[in-house]
């Protein structure tokens, strides 16, 4: 039975050519060049934090060397942010994750270990450490902050509205912290992004924040304060907003720009994910869906179905054989494409100076095999829909509306608003493309977490399960209608 279906498939030259084109398209769009970056060799190696993840670490730091244990207490009287762009001039904005407060850092080298307590633009007081740690404190936009280093490299953060009644925000342990730290006041202000028309049009600019501190007390023996622009501005000194600090009497004003946070893949962060190497999967999806649907509808069109059913009257078996052949052919072709596309695409992107977050072998295998599996199940779904619809155009329209349209509207040409995009990627068969997910979403980083940037609302295998559920429903429907109806 399976051999008969395989012979049928093989004997249609157009289908074989189409499947080969699908595999070639996956590879072709992966190695066509992609985006351009500015990291060549080691000249701009992406910063990594103590945990090995990609981070950004740039802020304005007014610091001195602090030996051993002690505490710093400051009062932040105001934190204001502004965005300056050539198009619209300077505007005051609320940057939710603008940060100002106290930081204790292992060294002035970007990416080194740290703990910091801060007020933020709209997220209240936060105690953060080593880029990924984030503990929420009271919801204040200004006020008193205290950071204490105790024996055993334990750093405790406190906050207070009036300077007398203190709330303990939390404590973090930073193993391997050196005896001499750089400690002091800091201000930073991440990229400000606004999206329109879904995420198809994104406008964003570097923001700058100004924090005023009017009280700074140390239990350490006081040294002299030095101002350092840690990490520098991302685009060099000329490109970024002016940063610096000034001191009038007991009041210190610090202007900073940048972020101390894990790097995300959205437009405010790296702007690139390894999933971009699989852009061609969409073309393969359309081709494989068309071939899958025609594998069944062509039988009806040429009345071959009568011969097929005469040769094998057990109709369920005919359907099963078609499903096996279509699924296997699609899987092998797609796997051949993705297995070349992902490593080759990553190499091309890296050779163009684009930084890609490091991937484990397991994640990469999941991307390669998962995408091939998703395409194969899509082909099976197309066979099932083709059996139900019996007419080629109707079947393909249904497949396109169910799988391709949600994928296009949320990933390829993301015009839908974020809420609608997330919803589509949960309930439609296109959810299966969550197998391409390689990124982590951090609540303490403001970015556009959209499917278009590799942030899918479902876990990879859950997404594939949604597609399989759709396929199971349509296969059942196909088996029932095939048995019930005259051919």
């Amino acid at each position: 039975m399976i051999r008969a279906e395989w012979v049928k498939f093989r004997s249609v030259r157009g289908w074989v050519v189409a499947v080969v084109i699908a595999a070639v398209a996956i590879v072709g769009l992966a190695v066509d060049g992609g985006s351009q970056g500015s990291c060549y060799g080691n000249s701009c190696a992406q910063l990594t934090g103590p945990g090995g993840e990609a981070v950004s670490d740039s802020f304005y730091f007014v610091h001195q060397a602090l030996t051993g244990n002690g505490a710093i207490t400051v009062r932040v009287t105001s934190l204001t942010s502004a965005v300056r762009s050539a198009r619209t001039g300077t505007q005051r904005v609320v940057v939710p994750w603008a940060k100002a407060g106290i930081i204790l850092k292992a060294s002035l080298t970007p990416g080194s270990a740290y703990a910091a307590i801060m007020v933020t633009g709209s997220q209240g007081v936060r105690l953060q450490d080593d880029f990924t740690g984030d503990i929420a404190g009271p919801a204040m936009r200004a006020g008193w902050l205290r950071l204490v280093r105790s024996p055993g490299s334990v750093i405790t953060g406190y906050a207070s509205a009036d300077g007398t009644r203190w709330t303990r925000v939390g404590a973090v342990t930073l193993p391997g912290l050196p005896a001499i730290l750089q400690g002091g006041l800091f201000t930073t202000s991440p990229q400000w992004t606004q999206t329109s028309l879904g995420v198809a049009a994104i406008t964003g600019d570097a923001s700058q924040s100004t924090a005023v501190f009017d009280h700074a007390a140390l239990t350490w023996r006081g040294g002299t304060w030095t101002g350092t622009d840690v990490g520098g501005s991302p685009g060099g000194p000329a490109a970024g907003p002016a940063t610096g600090y000034s001191r009038v009497g007991g009041t210190v004003t610090i202007v900073g720009s940048g972020d101390i946070a894990p790097a995300t893949s959205g437009p405010s962060g790296l702007g690139v994910t390894p999933a971009q190497t699989l852009a061609g999967a969409f073309i393969a999806l359309i081709i494989l869906a068309v071939v899958g649907a025609m594998f069944m509808t062509a039988e009806y069109r040429h009345r071959l179905i009568r011969v097929t059913l005469a040769a094998c009257p057990r109709r369920g078996r005919v359907l099963a054989a078609k499903v096996v052949v279509a699924g296997l052919v699609a899987f092998v072709a797609a796997l051949a494409g993705t297995a070349v596309a992902v490593p080759a695409g990553e190499r091309v992107l890296r050779s163009h100076g684009v930084y890609l977050p490091p991937l484990t072998a397991l994640t990469e295998t999941r991307m390669i095999v998962g995408t091939a599996a998703a395409l194969a199940v899509c082909a099976v779904l197309a066979v099932a829909i083709g059996t139900v619809a019996r007419r080629g155009a109707a079947a393909i329209a249904a497949v396109v509306a169910l799988i391709a349209a949600p994928y296009v509207l949320t990933v390829s040409i993301p015009v839908l608003p974020l809420g609608a995009a997330d919803w589509l990627m949960r309930v439609t068969p296109a959810a299966a493309f969550a197998v391409e997910q390689t990124t982590v979403q951090y609540p303490q980083v403001d970015d556009v977490y959209a499917p278009a940037y590799g942030y899918f609302p479902l876990a990879p295998w859950a997404g594939l399960a949604v597609l399989c559920a759709w396929t199971a429903v349509f296969l059942t429907l196909a088996a029932v209608t095939l048995n019930r109806r005259d051919a």
């Binding site: 157009g14 769009l29 066509d32 060049g33 992609g34 985006s35 351009q36 965005v83 762009s85 198009r87 619209t88 505007q91 904005v93 609320v94 400000w192 606004q194 329109s196 028309l197 879904g198 049009a201 406008t203 600019d205 971009q276 852009a279 061609g280 969409f282 073309i283 359309i286 081709i287 869906a289 068309v290 649907a293 025609m294 509808t297 069109r301 163009h352 007419r391 080629g392 155009a393 109707a394 079947a395 393909i396 329209a397 396109v400 509306a401 391709a404 349209a405 296009v408 509207l409 390829s412 040409i413 015009v415 839908l416 608003p417 809420g419 609608a420």
Partner: protein, 260 residues
């Protein structure tokens, strides 16, 4: 010609798929537009003075992204269905002048698609004009929704859907199989933006956006930041018209040269 049109009209409306397709075109376009209008919010922070970033007309017309798939399908089925059933031989026996037949088919297809698109997109645009000012897209923020540029966007979007249907007809006449034609037509529409987004070279990317039928057609619906567009609005619609005309002529030539 009049007889050919009357014959095609009778055939089109005796096919139960026709009213369903037009209904799907209206429902899908209006619902995508409705969701987009409902979730769009003006953000006063980056552009408090002038209209920028979000284009209210394009937000209202977001349904075109999905509606075009139905329009293309309607075009494909207008002739593809005849090849599937063998009806095409009867048709050509009745109307042997093949160019006349294809022209009649195009007219019978374009009329209802134009009317359905105008209705659906008119409703979407009107909803946008009424609802979006409540979401911050006000005259005070530099958006003038009730203007002739909004009417132009609606007009261009309606013509765009009609041209996409004609393009589908041309492709189906050329490949003679509705399934393949649907794949080709949708591939043609969605391929250019995807290829453009995957290509790094800015110049090549812009060129692909200029010649791609979908990106050029969507440019024609823009009402703000016109100088930043790859193509001026009417030029964008012209590119779509060239694609539709090209496919239509190709289909006509092949229909004339080949046996049915």
């Amino acid at each position: 010609m009049r007889r050919a049109i009357r014959a095609e009209w009778a055939k089109a409306w005796s096919d139960p798929a026709t009213p369903w397709l037009l209904a799907a075109l209206i429902v899908l376009s209006v619902s995508v537009s409705g969701v987009t209008i409902g979730t769009a919010r003006y953000s006063a922070t980056l552009c408090p003075a002038a209209a920028c970033g979000q284009d209210p007309a394009r937000l209202s017309l977001a349904g075109v992204y999905l509606g075009q798939a139905v329009a293309a399908l309607a075009g494909v089925l207008a002739i593809g269905g005849e090849y599937a059933t063998g009806m095409i031989r009867v048709t050509l026996t009745a109307i042997p002048r093949r160019r006349r037949l294809l022209a009649a088919k195009a007219l019978v297809l374009a009329g209802p698609v134009l009317a359905a698109s105008a209705l659906a997109l008119g409703a979407a645009t009107l909803t946008g004009v009424i609802v979006l000012p409540g979401h911050g897209f006000t005259v005070g923020h530099g958006y003038d929704l009730a203007s002739w540029t909004t009417a132009r966007a609606w007009c261009c979007a309606t013509l765009y859907l009609t041209l996409v249907a004609v393009l589908g007809l041309g492709v189906a006449a050329a490949v003679r199989d509705s399934a393949v034609a649907t794949g080709v037509a949708l591939g043609l529409l969605y391929l250019f933006p995807i290829a453009a987004s995957a290509i790094g070279d800015q110049g090549l990317q812009r060129r692909l956006e200029q010649i791609g039928p979908m990106s050029a057609g969507l440019d024609s619906q823009t009402t703000i930041d016109l100088h930043g567009l790859p193509l001026a609005p009417w030029a964008g619609l012209g590119v779509v018209a060239l694609w539709a005309a090209g496919m239509f002529v190709l289909g006509g030539v092949l229909l004339r040269l080949r046996d049915a």
